[in-house]
Structures are given as structure tokens and as C-alpha cells.
Amino acid sequence: MSATQQMPAMPAPGSVSEAQTPPVPRRVSGRDVDEWFALAGSGVGSLALVWVLYENLLALSGTLGFILCWYAAFLLTYAGVLSVAHPWTVVKDRVASSLFLSGAVVVGAGLLSTVVYTFVRGMAALVHINFYTQDMAGVGPTAPLTQGGVLMAIAGTLIEIGIAIAISLPLGVATAVYMTEVRGRLSKVVRTVVEAMTALPEILAGLFVYVVLIVRLGYPRTGFAAAVAISVTMIPIIARSSEVALRVVPGGLREASLALGSSQWQTVRRVVLPTAKAGLATALILGVARGVGETAAVLITSGASTYLNLNPFQDPMNSLPLFAFNAVRSGQDLYITRGFGAAAILLVLVLTLFVIMRLLARGQVRSR
């Protein structure tokens, strides 16, 4: 029952009499009824205490503060209740485990509330079909939600991410192949630089592309410029994750292929890459998930159109994160709702990619 319960010291074989209970292994985790009651009692007790004190006696206000006070009171009560029946070591253990649990709960609540809140706020816009089929051209800031939509942002996001994939996937995978299969003198340098660049702030990638393409080369702000900025951040991510995927391909497969007389190129193309297929797909999705949500880089390279523009090489283009960003900054209530709607679509996109990635990863584990 309790952690300090003495175990019988090595009973000699055959000496266990019927009166003696057989040794029970000490429980390291989990709680028994007694402790569940202590937990629930402390929770309710501290809630009642804070209920009385907060606002009435201490004149505090705010929901968040209430929850924080309740939590602090709970920990104290719980420790007190436990210390009645248990030694200090056990009290510390139980309090620590509830601390760890509450950390996880807070993080989970943060994530859950983010996702749910985005959908709740965007729901008013999301229920209208025109939100998906129209653009914002000629739609005033106070126009009702039955007019206009984010078609141009959806199309823009898909086009930009498509171009970014076309640029960054071959480059990223080829870099990974260079780092793991070819292994020249420079491969160590490449690995170091690529690793450092996975942490490059997206705004710097955007600024780089902005100055080089737009200021220096006089290229207008277009979807293509945004796609280049996105690929600059995606290449290191894809290269690094594909390298990990290629590195776990068993060396025996490579050797078997080479021993059968194939060249290294044939080995890479027919053995290594197909074996690492699932890992490469994961790398791609990891890169896309990052690229799709890129706001800062797109903000300074693509401009923001209100109309549907399918040509990435001409005129500004909009995208979902950019639209959401501009919409909530406008301060108009209806526009903010539209912004949340765009954010919700973006979230659905990311969630879909994430689920695909999970399924692929699971398939990879199973096939091994």
C-alpha cells in the first residue's frame, strides 16, 4: 500500500507458514482508493476555500487568477492531507507526480483551446459556401459574410506550396543523398550548415529573397517570390529529415545491390530511395507543414491581392496565413471572423498533412 511498507527479508524456501501473507510487490505507480480520496478531497476542499477567499476576502479578480490560486491551494492541501498518513518521501513523490501531470494538462489545454477557439471564432464564416468559392474583389470591409470569400488565399497557398515543393523536394533529397551516399569532402560542411539553417528565422529568409529578387533584380512582388522564400526555409528541413530517413536504410541492402553488379546510381535509385520512401514522405510533409504556415516570409515577398490570381509570376498573390494576419489586423469584426475562417482552413490543411504523416510513419514501422 504505502511505499515504505517493509518487505519480508528473503524468506527461506519452504519456511512460509500459512499465517504469513505472501510478499506483495511494492507499487511504484498508480493510486489506491485511499489516495484517490485524498486527491479528490484536496481538489474539492481547495476549490471551496478559494471560492470563499477569492473576490470576497482578498478582492482579486479574473478567471485565470482564480484557476492559478485554486491550483496553488490544491497542492498545499494535497501535501497536507498526505502528510497525515504518509512519510515525507511519499508526500514528495505524490506531489511531484501531480505536478508533472498538471504540466502535461496545461500544455494539452493550450493546444486544444487553440484548435477549438480557431474553429469556434471562424464558424460564422465557414458555414457559408461562398467563403470557399468567391474572392474578396470588390467586397467592402463591412460587407456581410454571405459575400466574398478566401478562394484567392486557398488557391495562392496551394500554388505557392506547390512551387516550393517543386523547388525544395529535389534539392533537399539530393542534398541528403550527397550527405549519406556520395559523401564527399564537403559533406560535413554541408551537414553543419544545413543543420544550422533549419533554425533560420523565417523572416530572414523572406528578407533575403525580398532584397535579392525584388530590390536588386527588380522582380515584382509575386507568388513566385513567396514560393522561393518558402523553399529557402523548407530545403534545410527536408534535407535534414531525409538524411535521417536515408541513414536508417540498412547497409546490407546497399552492399547486396552493389555485389550484384549495379552501379551506385542504380543502387540509390532502385534500392535506397524506394526503401526510404516512407521516411522521405515524412520529411516532405514536415517541410510542407512548416512552409504552409509561413506568414512573415510571405508577408514581405508576395504582397496581398484581394482577387483570384492564378499566375504566380505576375501580380501579388494572397495566401491563407497572410489573409488571416491582415484580416485580424484590420480591426473590423466581420473581417476578423473571416480571418479566423482562413486560419481554420489552414489548420485543417495542417491537420490533414499531420494525419497523413502519422499514417505513413506507422506503415513504415509495421513494414520493418
Partner: protein, 337 residues
């Protein structure tokens, strides 16, 4: 007949010694060349960003001299540009984010690796990964519209009772009948909290990876000696994972330094050299760039690029140190994000 003819064939030409190292076949030579070219191209592309930013900041230093680093105001109209307040704001936001994300990431990582039962464990791992994939802009929306209206009460409480600490002071009266809520919004504190949401999953994933590698033998030894679970965590798991904890935290710091969209949504720009984190108004390098690039003249653009270079150097240093810590902590698979 045919046999004789066949035998006579090789005898006709003088014997050529077998080549020991025939070199690569043409196909492979092309393959190697192509792969090397791409590798070098990516190296040049990514490396040139740092080089480029560095080169671009030379004119700024020539124009403004060292004042660029020491002045705090950003007034392009009268040619007064200094970066110190912005750098300070960037560091403040990152430090606040770290203060929140470090304990939460650590607690969550320990919970996932040590306490969570089987199915919940894999669910939580997915949830943390998902959290890392959620676009920053969405955290920004959440912080501005859902979180900020609640957190200002906590900010006021901190000001009321801990306001004697200089960095928790706000220039307003917290006891006023109608207290000025707007003095507590758009602050470093709120921005840091929003950024912490983005850094938690990064730190948590790395810490969890390192904790999971704590040797099972030592865990069981601790338990067999009568340690409670917390005792085991404290004496085996945490010391073992110390490198990962430090490295993961520093990687989150690197991420926090460069966060743009959420910060830009939350803060209201202010170029004061101040440490009052609860008070409205601050500026970070990334928000400065995103907010001012559009109407910048050539000199100002160069100044923004120098600001970018400073950010680049900061993140690079932090991330390099973090990478050293993470790699040293015997963790191979823990660094994927």
C-alpha cells in the same frame, strides 16, 4: 573447329594487365557530380544568407557608426536609427517565453516519458508533434483574442503585489476604480507567453527523447533500492537527461528569438530602452523588419538588414551551443523536429 577458333582469339592480341582500380563507371561519375553540385548549391544558398546579411550591414555601420548599436530610437524621418531597444525587446520576449516554456516543457516531457500509461503516451507524443506543426499565426490569434483579455488580470496582480521589482512595474495605478486595461496589453509578457506555445513542443520533444534513453538498468536499480518514482526520476532520469534539457531549452530560445507573426500581432511598437515587461509596447527585430520593410529607403533597408544580421548571429550562436549540448547527451534520434 569452333573451339580452336575461340582459343586463338585471345592469343592474337598481347595480354593487357587487369586494372585493379577501374574507377567509377560513367553513370556513377555523373551521379556523383550531380549530387555534389546540388550539395554545394544548397551550401552556397543557405550559407550566402548569412554572408549576404553580413555584407549588407557594412554600409549601415559606415553611416551610423557604433551609434547604431547603442542608440534606442528608430526614427528614419530624422535619420536617427539605433538598434539597442529592439535587441533588448527581442531578448526580453525570448526570456519570458523561456521562463514559461522551460518548466512546462520539462514537466510534460517527464510526464510523457515516465508517468503516462501506454496509449495515452503515444497520444501525447502525437499531440506535442502536432503542436509543433500548428502555424505560428494561429497561436498569435489565440493569444490576442482569447488569452490576452484574461492574462491582463494576472499582469495587474503581479504589478500590484510585486510592482516594487523594477521589471514588473507599470506606469499606471493598479488600484484605480477603473484600471487602465490597455496599459497591460500588447506587452513583452503577453508576446512571450504566445511565443512560449511555439517553443514548448520543440523543447518537450527533445527532452522526452533524451529521457527515454535513460538506461533501464539504472532506473530499476533505483527502484530496487527503495526509491519512489519521484526519487527515481530525480536521481536517474533528470541527471541523465541534463544535456538534453539544456540543449532543448536553448533550441527553444533560438526559435523564440526569431518568431515573427505572433509577436507582430500582439505587440504595439515602442522604442524605449526599458525592462518593464508588463507594460504595453515593445519591439523585436523580426517584428521590426516585418513592419518596416515596405516603406524603407535604401539606407533604412540596409539598417533593417543589419538588424536581421544581428538576429541571425544571435540565433546561430544559440543554436550551435544547443546542438553541441544535444549531441553530447547521447541522443541520436531526439533532434528531429
Amino acid at each position: 573447329m569452333t573451339l580452336a577458333l575461340d582459343l586463338s582469339g585471345p592469343q592474337a592480341t598481347p595480354p593487357v594487365p587487369r586494372e585493379i582500380d577501374p574507377g567509377l563507371p560513367t553513370g556513377d561519375r555523373v551521379f556523383h557530380g550531380a549530387a555534389r553540385t546540388v550539395g554545394v548549391f544548397v551550401l552556397v544558398l543557405t550559407g550566402s544568407i548569412g554572408l549576404f546579411l553580413g555584407l549588407q550591414s557594412i554600409p549601415t555601420f559606415q553611416h551610423y557608426g557604433l551609434n547604431f548599436l547603442t542608440r534606442s530610437e528608430w526614427q528614419p524621418a530624422i535619420d536617427q536609427i539605433g538598434i539597442s531597444a529592439v535587441v533588448l525587446g527581442t531578448i526580453e520576449v525570448a526570456v519570458v517565453a523561456l521562463f514559461v516554456s522551460f518548466p512546462l516543457a520539462l514537466l510534460t516531457a517527464v510526464y510523457i516519458s515516465e508517468y503516462a500509461p501506454g496509449r495515452l503516451k503515444s497520444m501525447l507524443v502525437s499531440a506535442v508533434d502536432l503542436m509543433a506543426a500548428v502555424p505560428p499565426i494561429i497561436y498569435g490569434l489565440w493569444a490576442v483574442f482569447l488569452f490576452q483579455p484574461h492574462i491582463i488580470y494576472v499582469a495587474r496582480w503581479l504589478h500590484t503585489y510585486l510592482g516594487w521589482l523594477p521589471f514588473l512595474h507599470v506606469n499606471t495605478d493598479p488600484h484605480a476604480a477603473v484600471w487602465e486595461q490597455s496599459r497591460y496589453t500588447s506587452s513583452v509578457f503577453v508576446a512571450g507567453l504566445a511565443v512560449s506555445l511555439m517553443t514548448i513542443p520543440l523543447g518537450c520533444a527533445i527532452m522526452r527523447g533524451v529521457f527515454a534513453q535513460a538506461p533501464i538498468g539504472e532506473r530499476e536499480a533505483a527502484l530496487a533500492l527503495g526509491a519512489t518514482k519521484w526519487g527515481m526520476v530525480r536521481t536517474v532520469v533528470l541527471p541523465f537527461g541534463r544535456g538534453g534539457v539544456i540543449g532543448g531549452t536553448m533550441l527553444s530560445l533560438g526559435r523564440a528569438l526569431g518568431e515573427t507573426a505572433a509577436v507582430l500581432l500582439i505587440i504595439s511598437p515602442a522604442f524605449d530602452l526599458k525592462f518593464r515587461i508588463l507594460e504595453a509596447g515593445t519591439e523585436t527585430i523580426s517584428a521590426l523588419i516585418a513592419g518596416n520593410f515596405g516603406d524603407a529607403s535604401a539606407t533604412q533597408l540596409s539598417a533593417l538588414l543589419s538588424a536581421g544580421f544581428i538576429l541571425f548571429v544571435m540565433t546561430l550562436c544559440v543554436n550551435t551551443v544547443a546542438a553541441i549540448f544535444v549531441n553530447r547527451s547521447r541522443s541520436g534520434a531526439a533532434t528531429e523536429i
